[in-house]
Symmetry: C2
Subunit: 352 residues, 2 copies
DNA sequence: TACCTTTACGGGCACGTGCCCGTAAACTCA
DNA sequence: TGAGTTTACGGGCACGTGCCCGTAAAGGTA
């Protein structure tokens, strides 16, 4: 019942080194005021004992608050996708609170690069110690990353990645593989004489995510010598009317489309179109467990949704920051999330 | 930078109630030695302030060690399925260690009821404060549950459930729905004139899991008026020779089996048979992300594996015990895991 | 040599809670 | 009424670490 394995602490180190705990403390936090000789002696003992600091006591004694921040898109009327990462962030927050960690979340508008830059500025000025970012805009993210490097603030990316930016970690899907899985599901029962339609609905012209996903999707067709012809369409407006107009045209040109693949969470717009135009025989696959999509999953318009546990991404992202800043533990640089397949039959148990 | 929101502690409560912190402490742990009057006064203040004890300080000050235990099947040569829950348990252990929580794992033989009872005995005698159990044997589990209730030891079930046993929580799949998902995947591209084969390979005669899964599987066929004839077979020996013998017979009797569904992780045995007998055109679905199965996923003999995040089950199970015993927080009684679909294309990112 | 600065270290309080021990006051009983 | 018992509470140390402050010793300067 009693704690017998009295895990050695600074006191024990101090006793062995014949110094006070304060000196040991100085060495542990490599502060000044210790002669080179004693420093070495103490370090040897620390190593020898494999000393693990007691985080409880450490956080209790420390009066410093650690400020973490997250910069993610606001929940818009278009999509509530970012509710999930937010909930993960909040979950992490409530766990870290007792350790004296505070979390601030900054929201930007997905349709406005400037709002990203603005909020990033605000966030940096708030004097945060670690940052979680959804790097939706490449150039703006690069600037933010540069600023973080200058100030030695660690940052993690979630949902999508921008390589070579010295992020502490990337937590999100392997996009190419994700597209690959989409292709597998789409072709699983597709007749070989049917065409396949790839749909990208996005205001952003240059979207890294999208390219990666489409590449993965196509590589499946290559790897398996799928005979199906692939048609693709970019739609730059996200409202239903525009989407419907474009799709009407495409379906007019291509009479024998058997399946459609939407590269992001706007698949519900396509579902709506298919339903309205009585084309529900077309297999439809898209992304993300958002309520609009689930509705069409329910009534069989969408066959599969692919998801990457956005909730978990938020949680793990914050935890990665916590690991480095509080525990001082290493963090894996690439953290690919599972590629989850959600159907009408299993969605009720899906935990984002 | 400084902790400004000095979250009120016992001292503040004591000040307001004009008593010492010791008295507040007595009330908080409802120990004796406090008059009814002051007790009420203090309780009011606690409620009013919505006092949250500082777990750090609490665990630091307490010299009590909390002993948690897990009773799970040993990893056998037949299956390494239980490696995953074990790893989750270990993960939880390493997180809880700093809070003065110790974890002991007891392994029993899945083919031997007595070993379950024996290890359960051993575990109880070790004086544990909370237990995680894989309730593989119904009667033996009931006895264990009764003993736990008598000693007021909370226990959680993982992987499969035995209702009405006053477990603190069940953490595992909704088996019926899981079978339902299996049926969906199996029929997704199945021709209507093909037969479907349900295979149960298990030494245990009365397996709760199995019945639930099969029921779910069949209910999908009912709900969707699937015309396919369903054939079923129970195989009581788990070795390859026996399985092959039985399957040879079944396939001999039923020439037009188009798909097979195995109700547990022994699907790799069936996969081996299908491969050896050149029947890989038969769609095959089974359970669990174990390495033998993944091998057959790799070479397209198994089409889909259904998984329920066994690692997470172990982790969450231990955490549920931690929640009640250390944090004293409520725990949800039913915790259904996601029904994950694993394919050749996405398995490399699957996180058990 | 007298005085000041720097270096290297120890003492000790604080964080919020758990809990042992001590003790007035109230109560009990012969 | 006096002695013993119970009740109700306060004092204060401990947990392991962070960090402020004090200070002896060494070094530097005139």
């Amino acid at each position: 019942m009693e704690k017998e394995n009295a895990l050695f602490g600074v006191k024990e180190i101090a006793r062995r080194a014949k110094v006070s705990t304060a000196t040991v403390d100085r060495v542990l936090h490599n502060r000044t005021g210790v002669s080179e000789k004693t420093k070495q002696r103490i370090n040897e003992i620390i190593k020898e004992m494999d000393y693990q600091p007691n985080i409880l006591a450490s956080r209790l004694a420390s009066r410093k608050v650690i400020n973490l921040a997250a910069l993610i898109p606001d929940v818009s009327e278009e999509t509530d996708f970012w509710l999930a990462p937010l909930s993960g962030i909040r979950r992490a927050e409530s766990e870290m609170k007792q350790y004296g960690v505070q979390v601030q979340v900054f929201f930007f508008d997905l349709n406005d690069k400037d709002s990203f830059a603005e909020k990033a500025r605000e966030m940096i000025d708030a004097g945060v110690h670690g940052i979680l970012v959804s790097p939706s805009f490449i150039e703006e993210t690069k600037k933010l990353a540069a600023e973080c490097s200058r100030r030695k603030i660690p940052f993690v990316f979630i949902d999508s990645n921008i390589p070579d930016l010295q992020s502490l970690s990337y937590i999100g899907p392997h996009l190419r593989k994700s597209g690959y899985v989409g292709a597998k599901l789409l072709t699983y029962r597709l007749e070989s004489d049917k065409k396949v339609l790839i749909i990208n609905i996005s205001k952003e012209v240059d979207n890294f995510n999208y390219h990666e996903i489409e590449e993965g999707f196509r590589s499946y067709f290559n790897d398996h010598n799928q005979p199906n012809e692939i048609v693709r369409i970019d739609i730059r407006e996200t409202d239903y009317q525009s989407v419907a107009r474009h799709l009407t045209y495409v379906f007019h040109l291509n009479k024998d489309i058997g399946a459609a693949f939407v590269t992001n969470s706007r698949v519900h717009t396509v579902a709506s179109f298919l339903k309205n135009s009585h084309r529900t025989h077309v297999s439809l696959i898209g992304y993300d467990f958002v309520k609009e999509n689930v509705g069409y999953l329910e009534n069989n318009v969408i066959d599969f949704l692919i998801c990457h546990r956005p909730d978990d991404q938020g949680y793990r992202g914050m935890m990665a920051l916590y690991q480095t800043l509080v525990i001082n533990a290493p963090v894996t640089k690439q953290n690919f999330m599972p590629i989850d397949i959600v159907t009408k039959e299993n969605y009720e148990f899906y935990q984002n």
